[in-house]
């Protein structure tokens, strides 16, 4: 199975590199887009100095983690995020015929290398913030950050899976579900505790971005949002894996209702 994944990624990279200048332009476009978001946050911080009880550097750190994990998700999860096209073109039929796990095939069908542009901006924001905050990095903190990234990517993939599942039932535009993915990115690039209760509950327990990202990060920053025993900060991000597993199960159930649209 690993061989299948590695082979797919290799082939996709090869095909992306066929149009080098086009790819470069697209990476720059993404860089400009996320750079614009970064500028917006900078403008806000220069006017208001603080957001809730968070200082400028902390906000930048949260922003960076959200943007870079979201970029990674879109980079590897293109197949899921663009699942509508998959169904519309009738390509899912051929997926069903192959003796490999369905979801793995969908994920390995497309890459989105232009998201590297956003990823770079996210990393730059994290780096700038970490330098300003003089975070005392320990192995424990670095390990937790790695866990946060992996679990957040899985959680975001799970959110994109909701959209993908809807595609089995309706071939029409379903941009409504965007509120959880793209809306989640715009909301949760700020620490969730600045928002009123309904939004906070939504992004803590229903779509657990706070559990995966904000709680552990706030502990790394030395200003825990929720005071827990240290071990717990390693446990809450696992909610992302659970969420992904749940959504994947629902997606598989939805796949049973698939009716081909192709010819």
């Amino acid at each position: 199975m690993m061989r299948y994944v590695v082979h797919s990624v290799k082939m996709l990279m090869k095909s992306a590199m066929q149009y080098r200048s086009s790819l470069l332009m697209q990476v720059i476009a993404q860089f400009v887009m996320t750079g614009g978001e970064l500028m917006a946050v900078t403008v806000l911080l220069s006017r208001f100095r603080v957001i809730g009880h968070w200082g400028a550097a902390e906000i930048m750190f949260f922003f960076g983690v959200m943007q870079s994990t979201f970029a990674l998700t879109e980079l590897f999860g293109r197949g899921i995020a663009a699942f509508q096209g998959f169904i519309g073109r009738g390509e899912f039929d051929s997926v069903l015929l192959r003796p490999r796990p369905l979801l793995l095939q969908v994920m390995c069908s497309q890459l989105d290398p232009r998201r590297l542009g956003s990823f770079i901006v996210g990393l730059a924001a994290i780096w700038m913030a970490a330098v300003q905050l003089k975070i005392a990095w320990t192995a424990a903190k670095a390990l937790l950050m790695a866990e946060v990234v992996v679990c957040s990517v899985m959680l975001l993939l799970g959110l994109f899976l909701i959209e993908a599942t809807m595609c089995f039932f309706s071939v029409k535009s379903i941009e409504m579900v965007n509120v959880l993915t793209y809306g989640g990115r715009s909301t949760c690039q700020y620490p969730v505790d600045i928002f009123p209760t309904p939004l906070r509950l939504l992004f803590t327990y229903a779509a657990p971005v706070a559990l995966c990202m904000h709680w552990p990060i706030s502990w790394v920053l030395g200003q825990p949002m929720v005071v827990l025993a240290q071990g717990w900060y390693y446990v809450t991000p696992l909610a992302g894996l659970v969420f992904f597993a749940l959504m994947a199960a629902i997606w598989y159930a939805g796949a049973k209702h698939y009716r081909s649209t192709g010819t």
């Binding site: 806000l44 957001i51 535009s173 941009e175 509120v179 715009s186 700020y190």
Partner: protein, 269 residues
């Protein structure tokens, strides 16, 4: 008069056709409504925290700005890719044999889609405002005069956007790839039109620069009029800037279209 009518008829027709087409996408409009209301609410919450009870009037202005941006989202971002499809499929040949001014034809088509698309989403958004709790709502216009100035200015803004988008189209005709240079232009617009963050919040030192650049003419200039009715000299200045950008962008766009029409390759068969 009659001659004028005949010469403009095809352009008015395509305006009407594109507008009618837009009214068919009601499900998309509903989906857009949910998304825009959600984003609006998130921004309102964010700015409420940012102002932290310090300046109620400025907060209300910012909230109104956010809602107006969300209401006119469809006007700001509308790129249906029809033209690139035509070129890729070879259909562009049929387009070019028509005895029409291609640039004007596409601009009129674009204005129709944008204005009607925005109108369809605007009315339900206004109803939603009534359901919102008091601190989240947008304010009424400053005065009837402000509303009139706003409406006129939005019309000019839509034309300005379409001239801009015709330039993007001309670039697309050359590169045949909507994700490259044209994407950069579109994304730059997102930031500098005031959609990501109200342009009024930029530092005071760059305000003059930021409010008179072309992207601000689309919606930022109208919103400023909605919030503060301008006196005659100031109003004249603002409208002149809008019209000046329309003229500049139009001349540039027409020149670019001329180049592209001259070296068009008809693909497909």
């Amino acid at each position: 008069m009659n001659r004028l009518w005949i010469s403009w008829k095809p352009y008015l027709m395509v305006f009407r056709l594109r507008a009618l087409m837009e009214t068919q996408y009601r499900a998309a409009a509903l989906g857009g409504l949910v998304t825009q209301v959600f984003f609006g609410l998130v921004y309102v919450c964010l700015y409420t925290v940012l102002y932290d009870g310090a300046d109620a009037a400025a907060l209300q202005d910012t909230i109104t700005y956010v809602w107006l941006q969300q209401m006119f989202f469809r006007m700001m971002f509308s790129n249906d890719g029809e033209l690139t499809n035509l070129i890729m499929s070879g259909g562009v040949a049929y387009m070019m044999v028509r005895p029409l001014d291609q640039h004007r034809f596409w601009v009129c088509r674009d204005v129709g889609g944008r204005l009607v698309g925005a109108g369809m989403r605007m009315l339900p958004m206004l109803l939603v405002q009534l359901l919102l709790p008091k601190g989240c709502r947008m304010a009424l216009p400053d005065s009837p005069a402000a509303l009139a100035q706003f409406l006129l200015s939005v019309g000019l803004g839509a034309v300005c956007l379409c001239e801009l988008s015709a330039i993007v189209d001309a670039i697309n005709m050359k590169t045949l790839d909507r994700r490259g240079i044209s994407a950069i232009l579109n994304l730059t617009m997102m930031t500098f039109s005031g959609n990501v963050i109200p342009l009024t919040l930029f530092p005071d030192s760059v305000q003059m620069l930021i409010r008179y650049q072309p992207f601000a003419q689309a919606l930022d200039a109208p919103i400023r009029m909605y919030q503060h009715a301008a006196g005659l000299p100031e109003w004249l200045l603002n409208v002149t800037v809008q019209i000046a950008w329309i003229v500049v962008l139009r001349l540039l766009g027409r020149w670019m279209w001329q180049q592209r029409m001259n070296d068009m390759t008809v693909q497909g068969g």
